[in-house]
Structures are given as structure tokens and as C-alpha cells.
Symmetry: D2
Subunit: 152 residues, 4 copies
């Protein structure tokens, strides 16, 4: 359950490209998986200059938080553009505003990201006008315009 | 949902003494609460020299993880004594081994701690031979010896 | 928390027409709501001759069961047509086959229906080729053909 | 997923004696298990004259409900003694009053009982002054007097 800074440094990590955005690419080291965690994802992510961390999105149920370890960039938080750097914290309450990180600098942006792993979630991608329904491993993606909002 | 390094620095924090261990004292800044997170606790903790982070414990259900930001100390992980320092990661899968951090150095030990906030949990304190049952805000503490383990 | 047979008899009930099927009409007496239950729905339903209990459907997560109290009818269980009468039981495990009841007789079909009330569910309506995503009170209905099944 | 009245009649059932009360004995036919239900228990229970259905108890989290099919008896609902007979309904909201059924008549008391099957529950047995903590299959029984109620 312990990983030294050196062991983390030496992990290969996985280069992840977001399934909806080829510009959202990061090197992902899953520290949580490496020590057997199941209900929290804990990732050391590195976003290279010119890339985003993920597609701009908001979770209806899962919470996550980000702590910047090194590098600089921009956090897009709803309508707001927030410059970020080492020691800054971003917490994403469920059903808050959409967000993404952008590395607009010239050195890698390194963050610790910890989030819930829920069985059920709904994720909105406002720029793409899409909604993802995730239920027990099944991912159903739909255009927002194809959703009928049933009133009860 | 954003806290700058400076804002975090300027937070007062709360001095927390563990309810079962007066030597377990830490300065706790709840970053998650400050930004409205509900299902994850995200804390910047500072353990001064000579103190422990918490009473030695293990959760049956909640997972948590710790990332060391500065300072040095010892992580007690079950039977193992693990020296820790900046950049080290400790992940605590549910139902793993008991753990605590000890600052045996001469500067503050500062860590980011992120954990689940579940409605139900069982926490064991092996040194005290006690078990805590937490259910929807009600905390019931019992001596391990007073528990009848019903076989079904 | 107690309702006598007479009190149940005297309840008005609510005439419910299924939101997707005008022929699915029943008189619904929510016994569970009347006694303050929150996590289980418990309903005495009466389906008149010529009507169905609901639109033919299957839940991915919620379980429900039906006990026939009086009357006769047909249970459609996937491809199977099952005649039903007093004392028969139908249990619907999550993610099983789609089902509905039809009163094809000439007296009211009266059943006790008890089911989970989950925060999250997915319901398929195979005849309509529609899927309902229910999350914390929000109902999102989509055509099956508009769903992109994302592989991970 | 279908059981006819005749198939139910012919099920052997299991004679269950409550683990804390030898007078609480019933014949239990698990209809739900027979059709593969996992998250709801659905039982046809028969309590013979002179017996109770269970030890007098209350669940903090699980809800259950009882529908009387035949026979007569008494429902003990907190301080109240309620005569019961065919067509009566008893719903037990979580954290309500303690309850049990007593067959004080001279014919079998037959009921349909449907309840949640939660991973976590707390059950109080007020007459025995005991509390059961159930967490993921582990049953921990303690005397109420051995519980320290930790204030937070």
C-alpha cells in the first residue's frame, strides 16, 4: 500500500487520450490501482504543453479533486478561466460546473487527481452537447437533443 | 471550487485531537468542505514533530489515500515501519492493514489526505482492542471482547 | 404502520395510466406510502379487464415482485405467455426478461406489487425500442437507436 | 421467474428458528430466492399457533412489509397489540417501532413478507437489550449496555 516517490517516478504510466477529444491527452499513473484501491481512483497525471487533461465535463454524481504538484496551466471552471500552479486545489462537487485543465505553459503540468468510482454516474460534455450514462460498466452516450425529459 | 496555494496557506484550519488518542493531534484544513464537496473528504493535514496523524486504525469499507507534500516521518502499515517523505503515496484499500503516520522528525509533516465519506463503516483500533460502528452519523464504540460473532 | 383489510378497501387509490402506454391503466393503492415506507414501494393494484398493468419493460437494477390476490390474467414474461391466478408469484430479478400483466378475463385482476426504490435505474421498453435513464428523480428517455454504446 | 400457487404449495420450505428466540419459529418458503431475486427477500411464511414470527426487533435501515394471507394473530407494534387477519398490511419503515407477529389463534398464520436485503444494517432487539450490526455478511451482536455512544 506504499509507493515511494522514486517508485512513482519509475512507473511507466499509460498514455490516455480522451475518447471524445484527441487533444485531451495525458500520462496517467494510477497510484490507487497499484496499491489495490477499488472505490477511489488516485492518479498522478502529467499534461504536456498544448494539451488538455480531459474533455470539458461535469459529473452529476461522482466527486473528484485535483491538487497541482508542478507546472502551470489554466483550469476552465464553468465560464471562468483560472490560472493554476503548484499547491493549488480544485474540488469538483457533484453537479457543479463543467471543468477541464489546459496546459498553456511550456513545462509539464503534474497533478494528483483523486475521485470516486461509483457504479452509476451521468456525465455531461457541454461543448459536444452530449451526455454519458454510466451504469455498472455500461457506457451509453447520447446527444443532448435526443433526450426526452420526462416530467413526473 | 478553486483554492489557490496562498488561500490554503491562509486558512486557519482546525486543531484536531483524535477522540481515542490525545497524542494524535494534527492541524486539519478541509479543502473539500471549503469548496462544497460532500462525498469525499480532502484534507491538508500538518502533523507536528512528536505527534501521530490518528489512532492506529483500519476501515472495513472506506478507502483513503495520503500523499506526502513536505516533511518526513514514519508510516506504520500493519507490522511494517515505513519511512516516508515528499512525493510518497500511501493508499489504504478497505479491509487492509491498520495504519497511522508518526512525525519522528524535527519539521512539520504535511500531507494531502483524500478519503470516502460513506454512510456506513466499521473501524478497528487494534491497539485499543476497540471497534467503531458508524451508521448514518451514529457512532457506536465497543470493546472487541464484548462482540459476539454470530455465525450464519 | 398498520392498515386493516377494511382500511385498504376504503382507500381511494390513484388511477394511473402508464406514461408511454394509454392502455396500461390500473388503480393503484400505495400501501407503503400510506405507512411511511421510503425505500420499498408496496402497491395494491387492480387491473380491469382489457387493460395491462404497465408497458412491457425490464429494469436493469430495481427488483420487484408480484403476488396475485384475485382475478385471472396473463403474465408476459419475455417470449412466454403465462396464465396467472390467485396465489401465483412473479419475481423480477434485475436485468431479467421484460414483463407485463394483461387482464384478458372478465373480472378485476388484483395483485400486491412490492419493489425497490433505487436512486438510479435503467429501464428498457423493448416494444417501443426506448430506454429510460432514471437518476435521482431525473427521467431521461431515449430511443435505443440514438444510443452510442461506448466500448472501454 | 414464475411460481404457481401449486408450486408454492408443494415447496418444502425451511423450518427457521430465530437465532435469539427458540419460540420464534416459522416455516419459510423463499419465493424470491426460488426465482433468482437478490436484492429483495420475498418469503411466504407460516407461523403455527403458539409461535412468533421473529424476535421483537426493529431495523435501522432495512424496510420490510407483511401482507396477511390467511389465519389470525397479533402484531406487536411498539407498545401496541394489533389483531391481524387476512388482507391486512403491515409496513415497517426503517427506524420505526419494533415489531413481531404472534399466532395466538388455532390455525396457521400465513403471510407474504417482502424486505430489502442491504449490505449494511443495524437491528435492535429491545426485549433482549441487544443490538446487531450487520456489515457485508459479518454479524456482530452486542449488549446495548456495552455500547459507548460517541458524540461528535
Amino acid at each position: 500500500m506504499y509507493l515511494s516517490a522514486r517508485e512513482i517516478e519509475e512507473m511507466d504510466g499509460v498514455r490516455k487520450v480522451h475518447y471524445l477529444n484527441p487533444a485531451a491527452e495525458r500520462l496517467n499513473k494510477s497510484l490507487g490501482d497499484a496499491v489495490g484501491m477499488q472505490h477511489l481512483g488516485a492518479h498522478l497525471i502529467t499534461v504536456d504543453p498544448g494539451h488538455q487533461s480531459t474533455e470539458y465535463h461535469v459529473h452529476h454524481f461522482e466527486e473528484e479533486c485535483i491538487y497541482v504538484l508542478s507546472g502551470r496551466g489554466l483550469a476552465v471552471l464553468g465560464e471562468q478561466l483560472q490560472p493554476i500552479g503548484p499547491g493549488d486545489f480544485i474540488g469538483c462537487p457533484a453537479n457543479g460546473v463543467a471543468h477541464e485543465l489546459i496546459n498553456d505553459g511550456d513545462e509539464p503540468l503534474v497533478c494528483l487527481v483523486v475521485g470516486q468510482r461509483l457504479t452509476h454516474d451521468v456525465v455531461d460534455y457541454p461543448r459536444l452537447e452530449k451526455r454519458l450514462f454510466r451504469n455498472a460498466g455500461e457506457w451509453n452516450l447520447v446527444d443532448q437533443g435526443d433526450i426526452e425529459h420526462v416530467k413526473r
